[in-house]
């Protein structure tokens, strides 16, 4: 019973309304090929859960498939603001759940530990708490100090692009590890896209980052992170990212999207 399926089949694992967690960060090792297929199938009403939102996240937002984003940064780094996120979040067309590194990291750790929260430092004294009325405080029973109770986070489905995986979904991540291991362990469904698939763990050439036992499906997708980077196979496609920024600048998101979906 092989886990290897096509991109088209894998995209069916994402259902409208899902909390979709994307691996990698901003412009690095993003599951772009998978997102292209989601855009083709127009799976909508999504909640995007990411460490940082970037290029392909902005396409999903611009295409109207995202209802809500949960991330601590959504932008194109040195290339500037993420155009569609900036527009839609500014006009009220997109719900933003204000996250920080700690709400995401401790939230996933709470789910991993099987509990409803993790206490940590952060947020106290800032306005984040005012726009996150769902976040409660907790008093340390030992120090009596007030702490933030970071609530547990769990994706419905996680999608991670990796450099190399075996047929069971054991995978190595080179480059940023981001929160990929954590979304893979906590998601109810987990899709792995890989530059290369090998037969057995012994062929991976190093320790795994993702455990096959938690992987639902594996898709072969060489170049599947482009134009984001896939260290050390290919660098960030800076010119492609600039093209996107400038297309949006001249109000041509729709045209860009059409060209993007036409490419493969």
């Amino acid at each position: 019973m092989s886990k290897i399926i096509t991109l088209r089949e894998a995209a069916l694992l994402v259902r409208p309304g899902d909390i979709l967690a994307l691996g990698g960060m901003t412009l690095y090792r993003r599951p772009v090929a998978f997102v292209r297929e989601l855009l083709r199938q127009r799976v909508g009403e999504l909640t995007l859960l990411e460490l940082t939102g970037g290029f392909e996240s902005d396409l999903l937002v611009g295409a109207g498939l995202v209802r809500r984003v949960r991330t601590c940064y959504f932008g194109l780094e040195t290339f500037g603001l993420a155009p569609m996120f900036t527009r839609l979040a500014g006009s009220g067309g997109l719900e933003v759940i204000e996250e920080t590194e700690a709400t995401i990291a401790f939230g996933l750790r709470a789910t991993l530990a099987g509990v409803g929260f993790m206490p940590g430092q952060g947020l106290l004294g800032t306005d984040i708490l005012a726009v996150r009325p769902d976040i409660e405080l907790v008093t340390c029973p030992y120090t009596k100090r007030q702490l933030v109770a970071f609530p547990a986070l769990r994706p419905d489905v996680a999608v991670v692009h990796c450099q190399i995986a075996d047929r069971n979904g054991n995978a190595r991540l080179l480059g940023n590890k981001a929160i990929d291991r954590d979304i893979a362990l906590t998601a109810n469904r987990m899709v792995l896209t890989a530059e290369r698939i090998v037969d057995s763990p012994a062929d991976l050439g190093g320790e795994i980052d993702l455990l096959g036992a938690r992987v639902t499906a594996v898709v072969e997708a060489p170049g599947g992170a482009k134009p984001t980077s896939c260290f050390p196979l290919y660098p960030l496609g800076s010119l492609e990212i600039l093209d996107y920024v400038l297309a949006c600048q001249r109000e041509d998101f729709a045209g860009y999207l059409e060209r993007f979906l036409g490419s493969d």
């Binding site: 960060m25 940064y73 040195t78 204000e98 590194e101 106290l124 800032t126 050390p232």
Partner: protein, 290 residues
């Protein structure tokens, strides 16, 4: 400002001087100016600093020149260890309390900052990318360091639209200690007395012009000086070894000028093949050797 160096050279030099040997220093997202400064510190007076970075999720002691498309060359190819992001956030940052230079979209006189939204939060005039981990780390860092590449009244505000980074409460305990340092493209500042205070003006800049570009009354140090220019050796290192493509200057640009410069750098990297260098450590390459 003389023609011998750019304002980003000067700011890099200023930031480098704030780094002590043996420090653990941290770089946030999209902050090449800070990276250039850390490398400068490492190559001059602070050989034993350890870098940690949002990009790369890694701890490094070795370095590589700045790159736009190959930014991971520094952080991954040269890593002492790659970490998962939750390890960094839940364990390493609170334990190591590293030195980090934050770039606020808004900052008030007390070092409170905003990187979330300009205007009303729910209907912002400008939605910003978000604060990353600034709302977390500023609650426990003992000292805060800032840099502002484009000094203006939009950034230096009397009252924040949204507080996503914790400075000090006016007159609160430890107020003077927590805010430590700020460098902008116009001058350098401390938080003596718990409030932003001008300490040096960059060459050719007057305190009056800085005040005019600051949205609140500035305190001024009684012994106001001129910011020392970068040394010849610092400039040589920045230009020839650490950042020959001048990626550090991108942060001082905006709009079409920035896009043009980015395109120029990306093309340079493509043509010179520097966007993915060799010299990576063997265990990152193992899978490609077969």
């Amino acid at each position: 400002m003389t023609a011998d160096y750019t304002v980003s050279d000067l700011m890099a030099s200023c930031i480098a001087h704030q780094v002590d040997d043996g420090d653990v220093v941290v770089q946030g997202i999209a902050t090449p100016l800070v990276m250039a400064a850390y490398l400068l510190a490492k190559r001059t007076h602070a050989r034993n600093i350890i870098f940690a970075s949002a990009i790369g999720n890694a701890i490094c002691s070795d370095w590589a020149p700045l790159s736009l498309s190959g930014i991971e060359d520094i952080w991954v190819g040269k890593a002492l260890r790659q970490l998962t992001f939750p390890e960094i956030v839940c364990e390493y940052l609170p334990t190591l309390k590293p030195k980090e230079f934050l770039r606020p979209a808004q900052i008030d006189p007390f070092g409170n900052t905003n990187n979330v939204a300009i205007g009303d939060y729910h209907r912002p005039r400008l939605r910003l990318p978000g604060c990353g981990g600034i709302a977390d780390v500023t609650t426990y860092y003992d000292e805060l360091y800032f840099y502002v590449p484009r000094h203006g009244r939009a950034t230096f505000v009397k009252r924040l639209d949204f507080k996503s980074g914790l400075g000090v409460s006016p007159g609160g305990p430890g107020a003077a200690a927590k805010g430590r340092y700020l460098v902008s493209d116009l001058g350098t500042f401390d938080f003596s007395g718990g409030r932003l205070r001008l300490v040096t003006c960059h060459p050719g800049v007057t305190p009056e012009s800085i005040q005019a570009k600051t949205g609140f009354p500035l305190a001024i140090a009684p012994d106001l000086k001129e910011t020392p220019a970068p040394t010849t050796e610092e400039l040589r290192l920045l230009r020839q070894e650490l950042d020959p493509l001048d990626i550090r200057s991108i942060e001082c640009l905006s709009g079409p000028a920035r896009w043009a410069r980015l395109r120029e750098i990306a093309n340079l990297e493509l043509s010179s093949g520097t966007s993915l260098r060799g010299g990576l450590k063997p265990w990152t390459w193992i899978i490609y050797r077969r």
